[in-house]
Amino acid sequence: MSSHREAPEISKDPVADSTDVYAFVSPDKPGNVTLIANYVPLQGPAGGPNFYEFGQDVLYEIHVDNNGNGYADVTYQFRFTTEVSDPNTFLYNTGPIESLDSANWNRKQFYTVTRVDGRGSHTLGSGLACPPCNIGPLSTPDYPALAAAAVHDLGGGCSVYAGQRAEGFYIDLGAIFDLGDLRPFASDHNRFGLSNYPTNAPGVNSTLNLNVDSIALQVPVSDLTRGGWTGTSASDSRAVIGVWTSASRQRVRLYDVNGGQILNSGPFTQVSRLGNPLFNEVIVPMGKKDYWNSQSPAHDKQFASFVAHPELAALLPVLYPGVFPNLAALDKAGTSRADLEAILLTGIPSGIIPGFQNYTGATQADELRLNTAIKPSASPNIYGLLGGDLAGFPNGRRVFDDVTAIELRAIAGVTYALVDKSYTPDAAAGAVTDGLTPDSLNVPYLTSFPYLGVPHSGYTPPSI
């Protein structure tokens, strides 16, 4: 998935497992950027009585690099605390939860937001209430109202929300992890000699009916850009920011058998991070995935060879014989994929795509790069830059962007033609998809902050 369960160790620690990062100029609030970091993947909405929550022993952060050195210039830190009203009941709630301070809600979470920048560390808000999980019509009879109450104004034009949302990332995991099947093109798969292989079919959204925990922040552009820049020239290097999230745990965890508690000690160390979707999942080999999670983007040069020679680019011609002959030739020649290095590690320089750049310099760092001077599109295209929409991925990432198809197409060779005019992408490269679109979701995105949809209720039967 984008980054759900993407590395062996972090897959065992969902509370600290970052799943998606979004960064986009807010379409309904000009001059603001929305940053969203999702955690706690693949939540079955009925997963009680201990419903999903953030880890109070985890340090969550959203980072912004505005000078291209791979280090954060601005970091927003989020620390959570859990309050249990009555430890003598097993129940999450003892009656309807109709407000964030409801006495019926037994297990509440609150959090503190701290901004760290060159001027130091500043608490933006504390004691901020999370909403409960969406349990059902008796327990959470008006979830949208609860969630709306959990959008907090931090002052200075900043808003924050931390709590459950409907999973907005759509992908056909069931097929893709079945040896690279793309259902719409199943008949072209090499089938490994098996005769009972399915024929072409529409994609199936594996995240349908699942929820996720989101940390969403909406802040003025000037809070993030170098020197508070708020110009309108997309060619200005100060327009570009690099975004990623991380989760850190204290280095020592001790199970206190006498107290029945877990003791954490020592400095925080990073256990999860995420910038570009699918980077760790698809680019980084298994033996280095958890190590990658521990690293700063500033040191991503050590992973650059996996971007320049992606395993998936070599697999596509094998899995789909005869479909990607030009890509196969590119692979066979050992050609470094300068296009992918630009998209994922440095940003795209000026002069490649008319009117666009999100280049941050020579430092190779996996960051989600957003050119803040490019206005939101009036007619968004889910294929982002590949669809001619300069406001979409890989210029930041909106909640509805089809990042799976975009990255598949890029890896299949579509974007290599941008750096080598003599290269002709295979006809299939521009059509590769797992067969899904936002219509594959059954909960709509919101048109305003926090943009991801109302989480699925545990009571409501899953529907297609």
């Binding site: 340090l59 952060e61 980072h63 690099d65 280090y71 954060a72 970091t75 830190q77 760290v116 990623w244 991380s246 850190s248 204290q250 280095r251 020592v252 001790l254 003791l263 000690s265 020592g266 400095p267 925080f268 160390t269 990073q270 991070r273 190590y291 521990s294 690293q295 700063s296 500033a298 040191h299």
Partner: protein
Amino acid sequence: MPDEEAVPGGRGKPATQGATRRGLLRGAAGLGAAGLAAGFVADKALAPVAASAATRNATAAADAAPAHEEPLIVHVHDARTGVVDLFTGTRHVRFTDPQLAAQLARAAR
């Protein structure tokens, strides 16, 4: 191994060396055997080790060290060379004390 571990704030440098060895040992002395027991020395067999550590740092304790309220966790990184890691609160300090490391290793047998 990473040449530079990512740390909170994303600004690069590990922020682990906030405490000196002496400072931490003061804390350990202030905490005494009970403190070590809370963190690492759960087995009664290690009580002499804790007592020994407290004794060896009696001088430091005399410097009016503040009470150490956080559990103190000891990790013998390398018993052969005596490299020991101490964790408390959000701090980590590494020091070398072959005698202490050897005592802990013996107690663990």
